[in-house]
Symmetry: C2
Subunit: 495 residues, 2 copies
Amino acid sequence: MPLPQTDDGIFRYVSVERHILERIESGELLPGERIPSLRALGTRLGVSVSTVNQAYMALERRGVVEARPKSGFFVRSRPDRPPAPRPSRLPAKPPTAINRGALIREVLGGMGRRDMVPLNVAQTDESLLPTRQLSRLLAKVATAGGESVVGYEGVFGNLGLRRQIAWRLVEAGIEARPEDIMITSGAMEALYIALRSVTRPGDNVAIAAPSYYCFLQLLENFGLRAVELPSHPDGGVRPADLAAALDRFDIKVVILTPNFNNPDGARIPDPAKAEMTAMLTARGVPVIEDDVYGDLYFDGGRPRCLASSDTEGYVLHCSSFSKTLAPGFRVGYLLPGRYAAKAFEIKATTNVCCATPTQIAVAEYLSQGGFERHLRKIRAVLERQARIMEERILRSFPPGTRVTHPGGGTVLWVQLPEAVDSIALFYEAKAKGIGVAPGNIFSSCDQFSRFLRLSYGNVWTPVVDEALTTLGRLAAAQAEGAGLPKDDDCPKHNP
Amino acid sequence: MPLPQTDDGIFRYVSVERHILERIESGELLPGERIPSLRALGTRLGVSVSTVNQAYMALERRGVVEARPKSGFFVRSRPDRPPAPRPSRLPAKPPTAINRGALIREVLGGMGRRDMVPLNVAQTDESLLPTRQLSRLLAKVATAGGESVVGYEGVFGNLGLRRQIAWRLVEAGIEARPEDIMITSGAMEALYIALRSVTRPGDNVAIAAPSYYCFLQLLENFGLRAVELPSHPDGGVRPADLAAALDRFDIKVVILTPNFNNPDGARIPDPAKAEMTAMLTARGVPVIEDDVYGDLYFDGGRPRCLASSDTEGYVLHCSSFSKTLAPGFRVGYLLPGRYAAKAFEIKATTNVCCATPTQIAVAEYLSQGGFERHLRKIRAVLERQARIMEERILRSFPPGTRVTHPGGGTVLWVQLPEAVDSIALFYEAKAKGIGVAPGNIFSSCDQFSRFLRLSYGNVWTPVVDEALTTLGRLAAAQAEGAGLPKDDDCPKHNP
């Protein structure tokens, strides 16, 4: 069992926890069976007896095992898993104008502050990224490059990089030629260009609820109206809900994050993705696909994309290397499909093209072939951190708390008990130096006012651990107080 | 007389030409006086007799001097200068919807093609930029940097770079704190963010005619309407014309390039700039200032900006290092003034922030203090190239051709005789491997259909020289053909 790069006591004992959980899940250890003694497992895994003991006690708290006096620990009959949050109750609601800007600015205000515990930032910890290697490559590129490094790239970007990306997309089942790919300043710019390519102010846009708040900000900024489609933590947006919304409203474009939707971590099953692509193609409705977490799956191999079954160019596929390589290099990409001419014009009049040196450095990195090995490493660390954080939430938060069990990505979506208000919790946490993202910013209406998004992308440290305990205590205090009942649907006065 | 970096025969004899012109303009050589003999001047300037002879013949063709048999060359009584183009005859016209996209795409299609003579590209030749120094600094930054080079910058950009920019702005009379400055991906992105910060679709925008075509593309893309203000090559947009337009139309924002307007090279006098800033401030109308050529003045010191007298934050000042340091680094900046919160939101939802390493490299470059020396060098080269190109146009183009005599920047604006159509000329030139920018793309109506914009930013070579001769021949052929008279005002059917 390889221990993760940033090893500490917590990691070590969580590794032991995982080891036991895996043996239970695989059927090697059956309900009612005794699990290995502290000493036996400690020797086998090369950890101390007290570490194994910590792990077993955590498993007991989670209800996975039970201690029997003088006999050791036994697998419980029905291991409990933290219950998943309920999906939004409503099907597609009428188009809604969006006004989340002020709240989102407030939340973003705390970002990047070194004095905050950044549970609000959905990114991979810098220490997990191949920083030294990329810096070396950038230095090499700069030394060798001359005019080609200082001069403009074409509007669509560096050709060598586009070749590497085309090659990588094969793994996600996407056939693209280098000339089909536009390099963008991160996935955010890909989304921005895609959205502007297919909408005019006043248009209706179908979008998952919950969705990444920057999508909502973009819609708000461009005067677009949201038709929200419920996302289910166990399968994302359902084809039937999409079909119903398309029947009922004049929808100009759909925005989806089919792999590990931010914030609920939902993954749309691959057959449902193909069904949706076919449905949208038949109706001639474009779909913007955000696949920024697609490479960060925990098991089962690379998930497919909407673009994997796109034959007519209606899927505008967006992604980046910001979560996996170097956020500050601002290298993302867009497959604009049939909207390439419009996308070209928008890129040219937004910023002409992307910075040249970082494009070449990423192309160099990809061509050296170590990317997949690097991804395996961060996937393993992220999965571990997700499971630790789930466990901590179960332990520290008030009864009635539900949490997702994502199969990839970098965030957990936490549903708090009735009396808890996530905006109030946001401010209380901020006062304690903890950054969290309150549920309200992930939808155009207030259906997620009891939710929090917590990022496990940051390396696990005692400070993070302590922050979760504090958060749990704050939530519990709210739950115990006299909270008014919350309406978790859209306010009725919304258009 | 220092000869320019990229010396060749043409440069050498043009230097001689300039030397004589300067002595005439300073009054040292008076009309009717004999100018130095070929041999005397050749010895003094260290060039051959035949070089001086070439220069004198060119001066004769320009009508500056005349040859008298067996006596030598004499200063003519009234030296002719190439006549400047007439400004547009109309004052501000009613707001016009813009539809130049298709034509602009056609023109842009030829850009970056290595097989074309790029007289259409308004940029500084890469060989004039401090490429090696910047590459070295980028390599140094990459080697030293670690996480800070690979990680995100804040939305407003690298603080060290903003400090350097604040310092430089003092020279242009602009007082800005680092926190007032947002780093953008070139000046294009600064303009895009500025425009989105202050407009909604359908708004009227006052803009100079002619103006950089990317501004018109931006207006078209955002559904904005142009109120065109005539730009005069000898003083740009006049305060009185601006005032009249503000009185007559509901103008939401003004876009101006007060220093060396692209394409007509016009510079608004500094007092007129201050007058306009005061006028707009009093009316509460924002103005977007593009100052991308402000550092490329030929004489008289750094021109002021609209922002130099801005006290209330109504000026959104945009610039970049793309014309002076490294276009491919994509480092520009915006002073968003009172619209900072909106600009922040737009930057965050467009691409979050700019690439980190190139920002740090430019900051390093600026902190080393060689920028001003570098600027002096490229200013001198650009001025020389401008004067050569003016002379070539006078020599090669048909009678009736007028050309600007800019005090900075990188482009000439050429007015062709009545029968010549610049779109036809654009296609004819393209067929001969010469890229030019036809006048029509610089306005929302067809008032510039007899104009060409030619860039002298590229290093002067025999290929460029030959291209100008070819262009002149093509224009002359059109002028001699049976050309229909052209209406150089807006078509009457325009709204």
